[in-house]
Subunit: 250 residues, 2 copies
DNA sequence: AGAAATTGGATTTTCGAAAATCTTGACAAG
DNA sequence: CTTGTCAAGATTTTCGAAAATCCAATTTCT
């Protein structure tokens, strides 16, 4: 799935390192799948990642496995301890708050940059990203229980928020955005396991986009902040349910 | 070198993953050394990192080497391309500007957080970090050419800036700080190869610290911003010399 | 001659087994 | 009863060689 843009983009910066799309080595493929499995709770937080089990699961030897684990560990989704192996990063509500607030700050900062420096290509990308998000939202609303549609919407949601930031032209800022978004998505999905699905407020997304395209920095960032505050509040309200559910099962 | 603080600190967050201090596996040790060798230009930007050569250099097999390379690649100090190997991340002046400005923003943000939330332990750490920086600065001024003293000062300098941020209590923000600082230090040392040594302005550091300890957020962040602007200006003036030097040799 | 296919050597990637380390539980000593 | 030591099994880490891929130069075909 290549970007529709044809520009050469920048040739430097982070994230170019391990080819993110379509890795052509076992290590890269396992790393990709591992990320997904952790974010989507196919592997549970705190779970030990033993080589013989993972070896069977992904059908690869230990060499590519270790390399994959180190990649994902550097991202903070797994924790490595010398001579004791790897563990899926545990869930900590404090960490979620940290990730959440830092992400809000960085994304606001990036959006300001986009509005100031974003070129026409950015506007087009943003519009198309919103369009796809909207379509996915409609699909989800038809069948709220379909896991695939839900995942589809999650992907479009990430791409929309990424599109907001993309115009800032700072590869490092976008790299950090991605890292934080991976973390955040894992936490969000964690809550979903215990709570009814929250209905997406695509109207908020549209308002943010319009303000951004109007180059109204203050209004756009204010709306984005409000968007985050609302999400945070909603998440907090799920917190109790989760804690009850966790203490009941474990 | 453990921190002087005895508090348990947080048990979550990034950076805890690959044990940063005193790794007890070959992979970890090589990763540590590789980072240093790249930051300190013992390995040159753009240089190919071939396994048989690195194998001799660090006296380890390919397995720990690959694992180390993936760790450092995730940090952006080396670039990996499938089936073509690893390369020391090239130098790009554009990237340096990106890293520099983002680092300035994040550090200012972190300092604000420290001033608002920093506890007494933070104040003590900051004071002691400044004290060590000052001592190192005096040592350097005695013998400007001693590479070890220069490196010592660099380490104290990093620890001082880290101490400024530490009180904010956001592991993820501190993690990003570290990543950006590694990048920045490499670029700074790159310029040092071509230019006379700049004398450190520890008076600026002291002023920033005083304002921070006085919990004067506006003054502290203003001073910090001025500090960065001055550094940026100084760096820019070196840029021409570097470009001349590079075009002469390459 | 120019383009496409091919071959050989260099390099990366992966595997399977050996070496090193950790964990557990039994046993002995204080 | 607690503490410390030691072996056995389990697991991680590392090595050395096999397999796969890439690169450049040569050959082959048009």
């Amino acid at each position: 799935m290549k970007s529709t843009s044809k520009g050469p983009s920048v040739q430097w910066g982070p994230g170019i390192s391990p080819s993110r799309d379509e890795p052509r080595t076992l290590a890269g493929q396992v790393a990709r799948q591992l990320r997904l499995d952790i974010i989507r709770h196919k592997l549970e937080p705190g779970e030990r990642l033993q080589f013989d089990k993972l070896s069977k699961r992904y059908e690869v030897g230990v060499s590519p496995l270790r390399e994959a684990l180190f990649q994902v560990a550097a991202q903070g989704l797994v924790v490595a301890e010398d001579h004791k192996g790897f563990v899926v990063a545990p869930i900590h509500l404090d960490e979620m708050m940290d990730v959440s607030s830092l992400r809000a700050h960085l994304e606001t900062y990036a959006l300001s940059g986009s509005i100031r420096d974003g070129r026409e290509e950015w506007e087009v990308d943003l519009l198309s990203a919103f369009h796809r998000l909207k379509r996915a939202g409609i699909a989800v609303s038809v069948d709220q229980e379909d896991e695939n549609l839900r995942t589809e919407w999650e992907d479009r949601h990430r791409e929309f928020h990424f599109a907001l930031c993309k115009g800032c032209g700072s590869p490092w800022l976008l790299h950090f955005f991605n890292e934080l978004y991976d973390q955040m998505e894992r936490y969000r999905r964690y809550f979903w396991k215990y709570a009814e699905r929250a209905v997406a407020a695509d109207s908020e997304h549209e308002a943010i986009m319009r303000a951004a395209l109007d180059r109204d920095e203050k209004r756009a960032t204010d709306l984005l902040q409000a968007h985050f505050r609302r999400q945070a509040k909603l998440t907090l309200s799920l917190r109790n349910k989760v804690q009850r559910a966790v203490s009941a099962t474990g």
